[in-house]
């Protein structure tokens, strides 16, 4: 019985005693007090035991590395649950044991302390939840701001593409002005003589008006009156003609005025318009009864199309406005997350809190390279639900074959190792030994998954390969001239295979033993893949579309079928898949030694598999590093199982470097 359980039972037992004492006719108050005190002490001890356990559990949870805020929230919730459970366990002691106000009062500091702790851990949960809510809000806000920015940017781009420079616009306007000036000989106007002529005409007009006034008042002076009215009219027209020329002269001056911006262009246009309007009003007043030839001069300036200027100017204003809006949005975007505490800040807060409360802060274990879960690529890796990951389990049944042997049929649960016990070696004399010289093939079937798994075993393939290497020596009917030649041939083959032991004299058993030893040596020297290794795939290599399939060996296709066998490939990705078929680590970082990562992660051999992503390299055949969360279909070709014996290592990066590669 654990101490916790023992104490709980003891407390309950004393509660029962307390109840029984209270039920006595002459209750012994002294004893009741004494039992009460004892219960208090036991409850405190019980709380202390629970707290020790809680502290251990909290430390364990604190050591869990949180990759994301969601992970952090899970940690905080787990801690809260533990503390709440302790709270419940202590409070449960008082269920069905009477109100016991005195006892509760004496335990108030304990209850307060526990409640305070629950509140504190609840506030930790709240803090993380608040950050997650704030992140969601910030995401939403950023989405809206980015949409608005995109809209502004699109509009801005359209305006900029349509906008013509003020100088080009001015050139076009000046050209139009020039036509007006040339057509009307405006540049030939002698302005000083015009002024003089006008002065004379105005002086004369004064005299004509005086005479006309006299003629109108004189008797029988109609001839004078008519004559002076006509002369006055003529004089007015002459003056107006000078004013017209004066107007044109001013127009000329204005049209010739240089501008250097849209604003100046606009000011000049407005001045011209004002001049024209004034002239037009005067002409209309003077020739109220009809259109005169002079009006064309007054309206000619209006004929210049100013819409382009207006458009350009309004575009300019709009562009400025949009640029301002974009800058404003960017400023807002840069502050959407100011109020959010990042994971590290939260960890700091929690650690400080732990130190303040006298606890050792939980230091998370150093993690491997973070697994970045994003987009379709990783989804396909982590969601193998729809795929058959395991062979169907068929109960084996005993059957008698045609040769009268009792065999197990449907025994797909047999592991290779079990089955391998009687297949330690294939000696060359076992090749073609039990085969009739010519046989008809009656049926061709797909190999069962269990058999396929064996065929991809590195050990089996080595045995089969070594048997081939010596086949020409041992096959029945071999025509080797003498033992010396045999020995020499054996040595050559053995040397080719880098066997450690050289054979001094021909001995069939010794050669077989050496081969067996070599098989073991090869088995020990497994391929330790690193990102950046250059490899080739033999035709039998199996490629997969997902890393989980590569490790579980389902839905593969042959490298030769996709034309990938015999070409140089690079190991671009490495994924460690755990026993449940989930990827627990993925990297694309150059020179990372995947096996070492697995070791550093504390994974036990046999409890995980390694899938390698292969790529073809760039145009020059150089290694291309790819982002971990995004496929590069231009170079990436598929996944292979690192244990696939059909991988031929051309350049093993870390072996070449003479070091173990980067570890974590």
């Amino acid at each position: 019985m654990e101490q916790e359980e023992y104490l709980r039972e003891e407390i309950q037992s004393y509660f029962d005693q307390l109840n029984l004492l209270s039920m006595q006719d002459n209750a012994d108050l002294g004893r009741i007090d004494s039992v009460t005190v004892h219960i208090k002490e036991l409850v405190e001890e019980y709380a202390s035991v629970l707290s020790e356990k809680v502290e251990v559990e909290i430390q364990k949870i604190e050591r869990r590395f949180a990759y994301t805020l969601e992970d952090e929230l899970e940690k905080r919730r787990d801690i809260l649950a533990i503390v709440q459970e302790r709270d419940s366990k202590i409070r449960e002691l008082f269920f069905n044991n009477g109100r016991r106000p005195k006892l509760k009062e004496s335990l108030k500091p304990l209850f307060d302390s526990i409640e305070q702790e629950v509140t504190s851990y609840q506030s930790d949960v709240n803090l993380v939840e608040q950050q997650l809510d704030a992140i969601r809000e910030a995401d939403q806000k950023e989405e809206e701001l980015n949409a608005e920015k995109k809209r502004c940017q699109t509009e801005l781009n359209v305006l900029r593409s349509e906008q013509i420079s003020y100088s080009r616009l001015d050139e076009r306007i000046i050209a139009a002005y020039q036509r007006i000036l040339t057509d009307n000989n405006i540049e030939q106007i002698d302005f000083p003589s015009l002024i003089e002529k006008k002065r004379i005409l105005e002086k004369r007009q004064k005299q004509l008006l005086e005479n006309l006034e006299l003629a109108r008042n004189a008797k029988n002076a109609d001839n004078y009156r008519i004559t002076y009215e006509a002369r006055l009219e003529r004089n007015k027209l002459d003056i107006d003609e000078i004013e017209e020329k004066n107007f044109l002269h001013l127009l000329n001056k204005m049209m010739q005025k240089k501008v250097s911006s849209y604003e100046e262009l606009e000011r000049r246009t407005k001045s011209i318009q004002t001049l024209v309007d004034a002239r037009k009003a005067k002409v209309q007043k003077l020739y109220a009864e009809g259109v005169t030839v002079k009006e064309k001069y007054a309206t000619v300036a209006e004929k210049i199309n100013h819409s382009e200027i207006t458009l350009a100017l309004s575009s300019l204003i709009k562009i400025e406005e949009l640029e301002r809006q974009i800058a404003e949005i960017e400023e807002k975007l840069s502050h959407t997350r100011d109020h959010i505490k990042v994971k590290e800040e939260l960890e700091e807060i929690f650690n400080k809190k732990a130190v303040d409360s006298g606890r050792t802060p939980g230091i998370p274990e150093i993690p491997p390279e973070p697994v970045q879960v994003k987009d379709d690529f990783v989804n396909q890796m982590i969601d193998p639900k729809d795929e058959e990951l395991e062979e169907p389990i068929v109960s084996p049944t005993e059957e008698v074959n045609s040769a009268g042997e009792t065999v197990m049929v449907g025994d797909t649960e047999l592991t290779f190792e079990e089955d391998f016990s009687d297949f330690e070696l294939l000696t060359p004399d076992q090749i073609n030994a039990d085969m009739v010289s010519r046989s008809q093939v009656l049926a061709v079937e797909e190999a069962q998954p269990g058999l396929l798994k064996k065929l991809f075993s590195g050990k089996l393939r080595k045995i089969l390969s070594l048997a081939l290497a010596t086949v020409s020596l041992f096959i029945s009917g071999t025509q080797v001239a003498n033992a010396a030649e045999k020995e020499e041939a054996a040595e050559n083959i053995i040397n080719e295979e880098n066997l450690d032991t050289s054979i001094q004299a021909y001995d069939e058993n010794a050669v077989v033993d050496t081969i067996a030893a070599n098989v073991e040596a090869i088995m020990k020297e497994k391929y330790a893949p690193s990102i950046g290794d250059k490899i080739q795939l033999n035709p039998g290599a199996a490629l997969y579309t997902t890393s989980t399939n590569a490790v579980s060996g389902v839905q593969g296709y042959e490298a030769s079928a996709s034309g990938l066998s015999g070409t140089d490939l690079y190991v671009t990705r490495g994924a460690i898949i755990d026993q449940t078929g989930n990827p627990i680590y993925i990297t694309t970082t150059h020179s990372v030694d995947i096996n070492k990562v697995a070791t550093d992660m504390g994974l036990v051999e046999g409890t995980y598999g390694i899938a390698l992503g292969c790529s073809s390299g760039d145009m020059e055949g150089n290694f291309v590093e790819v982002p971990v969360d995004q496929l590069n279909p231009a170079v990436e070709k598929g996944w292979i199982n690192s244990a696939d014996p059909n991988i031929v290592v051309i350049e093993q990066l870390n072996k070449q470097l003479g070091q173990g590669g980067m570890s974590l």
């Binding site: 059957e399 074959n401 045609s402 040769a403 042997e405 065999v407 049929v409 025994d411 797909t412 089955d419 391998f420 009687d422 297949f423 070696l425 294939l426 000696t427 076992q430 090749i431 073609n432 030994a433 039990d434 085969m435 009739v436 010289s437 010519r438 046989s439 008809q440 093939v441 009656l442 049926a443 061709v444 079937e445 797909e446 190999a447 069962q448 058999l451 396929l452 064996k454 065929l455 089996l460 393939r461 080595k462 089969l464 390969s465 048997a467 081939l468 290497a469 086949v471 020409s472 096959i475 029945s476 009917g477 071999t478 025509q479 033999n538 035709p539 039998g540 042959e558 059909n646 031929v648």
Partner: protein, 83 residues
Amino acid sequence: MMDIKLHTVLTLDNNQKYVVVAKTEYMGVSYDYLLQLAPNGITLRNKAAIVKEEKENNSVYVIQVNDENLLKTLAPLFESQLA
């Protein structure tokens, strides 16, 4: 007509089963490296064979290769697939 592919299981007229562990083509002829199986089609046996494929009247035959020179030629071709 039946097609012998890599990693398929062949049942011969003497009821023996073999799995194709390697396959190659030499001088326009297909050759297979076979490994014998128990009748359950999954348990491996310590018997292997190097055979030539021959097709005749819609039937497929496997013929044991005994020629030493041919075996010497074929062995590395199979080996490269198994290495």
